[in-house]
Structures are given as C-alpha cells and as structure tokens.
Amino acid sequence: MRFERREHPVAAITIGAPVLAVTVSLLLAGGLIALAGAPVLAAYASIFTSAFGSKLALTETLTRAIPLMFTGLAAAVAFRAKVWNIGAEGQLYMGALAVAATGLWITAPPVVTIPVLIMVGALAGMVLLIIPVFMRVRFGVDEVVTTLLLNFIVLLFVSLAIEGFLRDPLAFGWPQSVPIPDEGRLPKLVDRSRLHLGLVIAVGFAVMVYLIQRFTVFGLQSRAAGESPTGAAFAGVPITRTLLGVACLSGGLAGVAGAVEAMGVKGFVSTDLSPGFGYSGIVVAMLANLNPIGVIFAALFVAAVFVGADGMSRSMEVPTFIADVTVSLALLTMLIALFFAAYRVRW
C-alpha cells in the first residue's frame, strides 16, 4: 500500500473529511457511552439538547466558545508560521491578570475602558510569547519546551498575585483578584444569560486574522518563514522580525482570550478562570486546519461537546470524561481525515 500526494485536492473530500471525522468521533464516543451503561441514543439526544436545546443551553455553548476562538486563533497563526506556541494557557492568564491590575487604576467610561483593557490583555500575552520566540531565533532554544513550562510559572504567579498584592479584600478569604470595575465589564448580549459582547469581538478577530493572512505582506512573509526558512531568507524575508511579529499576534490573541473571559464572565481573576482553554485552543486550531474562519466553527464544536457532555453526565450518570474523550477522538479522526484529504491510497 502506498500513499501518493494529491496534485489537486478534491473539494468534496476537503470539506467532507472534517464532517466525516466529527461523525466518526461521535460514533466512537457512543461505544464508550454504551460501555458506561447508558442508552446511547438517549445520551446523544441529551448531549444535543444540553448544548443547543434551549436558550440557556445555546448561550452557554456560545459563551464557552468565546475563549476557545481566541486561543484557537492564537494557535492557528503561530502554527502556520511553524512557531510552536504551547503557552496560550499562560498567556491567557497573563492577559487576565494584567486586566485586573489595570482595572485598579483606570476610571473612564466603558467606551474607553473596554478597548484599553483588551489592549492591555493583548500586550501582556505578547510579552509572554516574545521572550521564548526571541530565545528561539537568537539562541535556538526550543519554544515547545519554554512556552509549555512558562504556563506553570504563570499559573503560580497568578496564585501569588491573587493571594497577595491583587487579592480582593472583600472576598471572604477566597483566593481571587480585585474585581474588574463595572466600566470594564463586557455588556451582555442576551438577558439573563452569561453570553457577552466577547462573541462579537472573537468573530471580528477571526475575520481580521483571515484578512491579515490572505492579503498582507506580513501574512505572506510569515507563511514563507514557516514553510521554508532557507527559502524565505534567500528571498529577503526578515526572518527574526517576522517571527517576532507572529509572536505578537499569537500571544496577543491568547492574552485577549484571558482579558475577555475575565471581563465578560467572571469579573475577576482566579486560578479556575480557564479549564485548559489554552490547550483546547490547539485542538480547535488543528480541527480548523489552521484556517481562521474555520476556528469559529471548530470552537463551537468543541464548546458544544463540553457543554453537551456536562449536561448528559448530569442526566445519564455518565462520567464527564466522555467530553474530553470525544474531543480527543475528534482531533485524532480529524488528523487522519486531513491526511486522506491530502494523499490518496494506492495498492
């Protein structure tokens, strides 16, 4: 058996493969549900209704998708330039923490406060990623290791901050940061739900990233630098500057994820702000095949699986691990599907 690269990708396969992958992953997850002793079809129905079945369910799914869109975009822009940013989780927390700290100082109407806080969050994420990327281009330090390990350092730093200099004195001893001022809270999109303006911002950023990649000099140069550093250098692409630019964009997006989550959902920073949004962003980016518009839909899918599986586990007494397993299966089947979209099999 041999694999031959398709010269011309078949449109039906390119679009059909992800759909098939998601379907297969749900079927496989069905086997696990059966193994857990629950009726499979009822469980599926429960997942679906818990994710989309009511206004509350739908808004919860959308709310959950917002940070995944940002971290998914962060991973997508980095991976496209072959910058392996595994540190979105840390950049997210750094962004959120910077927002909380800045909130102490700022007194301005929401039209000013909200954009300023988002930019502060982006800046914090940028700084956190520029360091490892600079170390890579300058000294050849593997950024997979440095960005990953920075996540743990940042999380400990957050603990230090919210139990120390940023501690909320009115929180009855709970480790959480000072609240973000009301002027910095994102307005709700739907009454009596958690869904906030962040959804619009996230979709806007996805479109912006798409436009940058498709139409700008920076977009082309970053792709060239990722695909072939020697080829790009020969053509005069400033490699260091380009990769640092990618670091700014990617780290900035992850920082915004934290800022928006803190400003939209919680209103303060705690160490449970993110249940691994940074890592799930990698899955989202891969499911989207690194396409920024695809990230929107991939984030919705992952969010729906998580929210739906939560609901199902409550009503069916199936462990919530099913959600993690389903998302992981989706990633694996997606990677296999992408392979078959790019290669054909011959005997």
Binding site: G231, F234, G236
Partner: protein
C-alpha cells in the same frame, strides 16, 4: 537451448491519473551487459525502474528474471531474485559504520547474535573482487559522496544481486568520480553482473554503456548499440528534435559592476574562502569553476547577502554589499539564482505568484502600505510564465507541482524580467535535461547581451567553455587569476580546477 535474458520487462504500462508515465515498454538485458536508460526529466525512466524494484505496481505488464516471473509490488521479492538498486538519494545511516550499514536488513531483527565476522569476510572479498575499496569500519558520515555511493553498490552486491540498477548515479559526483564509477561498472559487468543505469547526460551514456534505450514521454522510442550511434543522434531521439545549443557572440566588456577584495570567510572554524579577489564587468560572463565542495556554495552565500565575510570587502554598483540585505540587493538590480532551487529558490507550498514576487514584496508594484496587490502580482507572474515558457501551472499553482526545469525557468524569469545589472548564477543548469539546459544558457547569454554582468558559479567544463568570457578556478576557497576562455582548452581548464595555475600564461 538459448539462455534466457538476465532480465526481461514485458509490456510495462503505468499511469498516474491522467499522466502516462510508462506506455507498453519492453526491454531485455543480457548477462554481463551494461545498458543506459536515457531520457529527459519526466520521460518515465525512474518510474520504470521503481516498478522493476517493486516500489510501484504497474497497470499492465510483467517482469522475468532469468526466465522466471518476478512477483511485482514488493522490493523484498526483487532483492530475493537478485535485483539491487542504488537510488539517487542514498539510504545510508550516517551514524553507523560501513559494515553496519551493509548488514542492516540482512539479519533477522530478533536474533541476539550478529554474524559480524562472516559479514566482514564477505565484504572484504567483494571489495577486492570488484575494486570497491572502502574501510569497513569508517563511519558513513566521514565518507565522501563518491565513497558513499560505493557503499550503496556494495550493499547491493552483499545481497547477492546479479542485476544492478543505478538511478542517475553521476548526479552527485564530480567528473573524476564519475569516470571512476564507469570504469567500475565495466569491471562488474565482466564479472557477470548485468547493469542498468539511468541518465540524461549523453557523454556518460556513450562512454559507460553497451546499449542505450531511449525513453520519451513514457514511450520507448529507440534502442541503439553505443558503437553504432553518436551524441547528436541520441540528443535528437531524446528531445524529439534537434537541440540548438546557443553560441556566445563577441561583446565589449563595460565598467566594473562588482568587485571583491580579499574576501575571507570563516565558518565553523574552517576557512571556506581565502582572500578571494575578482572583478566583474558589464556585458560579460565571469565563471568561477571548481569541483564541488571547494567553496562555491559559500561564495554564492556571501554574494547573495546570506553570509557576511569575516574580512575583505565586496563592492556592488558603488555600494558596500556587506551592509546590504538580500532584499536591498534585489532592489539595487542584483539578480540571484541559487544553487538549490527547491530549498532556496522556491517555497514548494506557496503558489507561483507568491514565489515570483516574494523577493520584491516591498516594491510598490506589488504592495501598498503592507497590503499585497494580488491582481498585479498575478498579471506579473502570468507574463513570466508566458515569456519564459514555464509549463505546467497557472499563477495559482503550488510551486512543488512544477518540474525542476520549469521551476528553474520561473526563477530565471523573475530575475531576468527586471533587466538586472548583475546576475549571480550558481549552477543554473544543474539537474536539468538537454532542452532546458540550452534554454537556460540562451537566456543567460541574452542577459549578457543586454548589458548584465554575470557571475557564473559552475562545476561543468562544457558550461563554462560555452558561456564564460573569463574564468577563475576555485580550489579550497582560493581563486586563480582570471584567464580568457578563448585562450584555454578543456585540458588546461581541468588543470586549473586541480589547483595548478602557477604557470598560467594567459592571466589577464
């Protein structure tokens, strides 16, 4: 009874989608015979040999070895029947010794004892019988390319092969190494081996083979005994029409456009370039010729703005070039053709239009305030494709889908369409077939006629004699004084490449 041929290919056909790689090809090979499989790039030579060795399954046809049918589709069967293949890109592990490399795959994976002594004895016997001298305990990473090829051949012989296939064996060799290889093949043939080698170089086919099989567009178009044919006929059979080689007319060299003074380059503790001096004029081709690995790659890097010399200066059109980036050099009118078109000259995953404009992306024609002008870039690329006869793609096609010759024409096109003042061409015709080589050479001479100063970095005598007005040899990072090619013959040039220029009479 008549002895069956060592190898018989019968009616082999193979197509990839709409492309026919092989159409009804039948070849027979006698014991002790050397045949050359000649054809342009893409004629189907490699596909045919990959079918024989089991890498591909043919759509139709069969193979017989010494009268017995070979089950196709598995290299293991081919090896067991005595077929050995030496690929163009070697498959040796650099961190193992010669002996270890040769034994790899010959022993069961789970046996605890390795029969090293027996293997060593067999290897020594083979090496002596065929004159393939290599140290069995040397690490492959320490061997020259020519020696590595010998190890590959020994590996095939170690597996008791009686039919040896070599895919473009001379592509990576220097002239003397190539000559040695063909002497070796001759010895092996007299020892009873049957040999097929793939080539698109006419002179080595004439020298190395008993018989030539010419493929063109997947079909067998001719078979000739080398004693009954000549290069001209083979070239015509291979290309389908007569190849017109360009000729160099007279020009009057203009003022100096590029000047290197005492350029020295240290890399990894080695002196790669030592006090290099040259002057390049308008309207001329200056060739820097040498055997591979004598500093050509480093010279190209320094001149292309990718490496900074440790000392010395390079002046380009009145600017100090060491202070310039590749993008600034391009803007100044310095065109560059890199030695390796696949890793430096183009980015396979990007489209042709992206590859065409990447080095001029800041040019106001192609971008404005950071936004790419896609339409303009595509029009520009389409013009290159038309004017330079680049086939097999539109501006939207990914570069990896172009053949080597067409990719090289695109690289030439994006440089020459801007009427450069200086062209640095590092082995511009490397790995191309006869038709494409003639085309590249014609374009270079055209640019020279239009006033460009061309610095040609070459390893080919023929190319240098054809194109260059003046030549300097490069040996161990040192350059000889310049000599006018009119006053040289190939033999003298060969001496220069060997580093003997003490008594040069015609230095200018």
């Amino acid at each position: 009874m008549l002895r069956p041929p060592a190898l018989a290919l019968k009616g082999i056909s193979k197509s990839f989608g709409p492309i026919t790689a092989n159409a009804d090809i039948s070849i027979s090979l006698q014991t002790g015979e050397v045949i050359a499989l000649l054809g342009e790039n893409g004629a189907g030579k490699t596909t045919l040999m990959n079918i024989l060795f089991g890498h591909y399954m043919p759509d139709a046809g069969s193979v017989e070895i010494e009268g017995k049918p070979l089950t196709l589709g598995k290299p293991r069967n081919a090896i067991a029947m005595g077929v050995g293949m030496v690929h163009q890109h070697f498959s040796l592990a650099p961190n193992l010794t010669v002996l270890e490399n040769i034994m790899t795959g010959t022993e069961p994976l789970f046996s605890l004892r390795s029969k090293t002594d027996a293997a060593r004895a067999k290897l020594t016997e083979l090496a002596e019988r065929f004159g393939l001298l290599v140290d069995p305990d040397a690490f492959v990473s320490d061997l020259s390319v020519g020696e590595q090829q010998r190890v590959e051949i020994l590996k095939a012989l170690f597996n008791d092969c009686r039919i040896l296939i070599l895919d473009e064996p001379t592509a990576v060799l220097t002239q003397p190494e190539a000559e040695q290889l063909f002497r070796l093949l001759r010895v092996m043939a007299t020892e009873g081996l049957s040999i097929i080698f793939i080539s698109h170089k006419l002179h080595e086919v004439m020298n190395g083979a008993d018989r030539v099989v010419v493929l063109k567009a997947g079909r067998l178009v001719a078979e000739r005994q080398t004693s009954e044919t000549d290069k001209a006929e083979l070239a015509e059979l291979m290309v389908g029409h007569q190849v017109k080689r360009p000729t160099r007319g007279k020009t009057v060299p203009g003022p100096v456009v590029m000047k290197a003074v005492d350029v020295t380059l240290m890399q990894d503790g080695h002196k790669r370039l030592a006090n290099v001096n040259f002057e390049l004029h308008e309207n001329e081709v200056l060739s820097i010729i040498g055997v591979s690995g004598n500093g050509q790659a480093q010279l190209a890097q320094v001149l292309s703005g990718l490496a900074k010399p440790s000392s010395g200066t390079i002046e380009v059109l009145g600017h100090l070039s060491t202070a310039l980036t590749p993008a600034e050099l391009t803007e100044l009118g310095v065109a560059r053709i890199p030695e390796d078109r696949n890793t430096e000259g183009a980015i396979g995953a990007l489209s042709l239009w992206q590859n065409a404009i990447l080095q001029r992306i800041s040019d106001p024609r192609f971008s404005k305030r950071g936004i790419i002008r896609g339409k303009a870039a595509e029009t520009y690329t389409q013009e290159i494709l038309d004017n330079f006869d680049v086939r097999g793609g539109t501006p939207q096609t990914e570069a990896r889908l172009l053949s080597g010759g067409n990719l090289q024409k695109l690289i030439l096109g994006r440089n020459l369409s801007e009427n450069p003042r200086i062209l640095i061409a590092a082995q511009p015709a490397r790995g191309l077939d006869e038709g494409a080589i003639a085309e590249v050479h014609r374009r270079l001479l055209e640019a020279r006629g239009a006033g460009a100063g061309i610095l040609l970095i070459s390893e080919e005598l023929e190319e240098t004699m054809l194109l260059a007005d003046r030549v300097q040899a490069i040996v161990n990072g040192r350059l000889s004084p310049p000599v006018a090619t009119d006053k040289l013959d190939s033999r003298q040039l060969g001496f220069m490449m060997a580093g003997e220029w003490g008594a040069l009479e015609h230095a200018i």
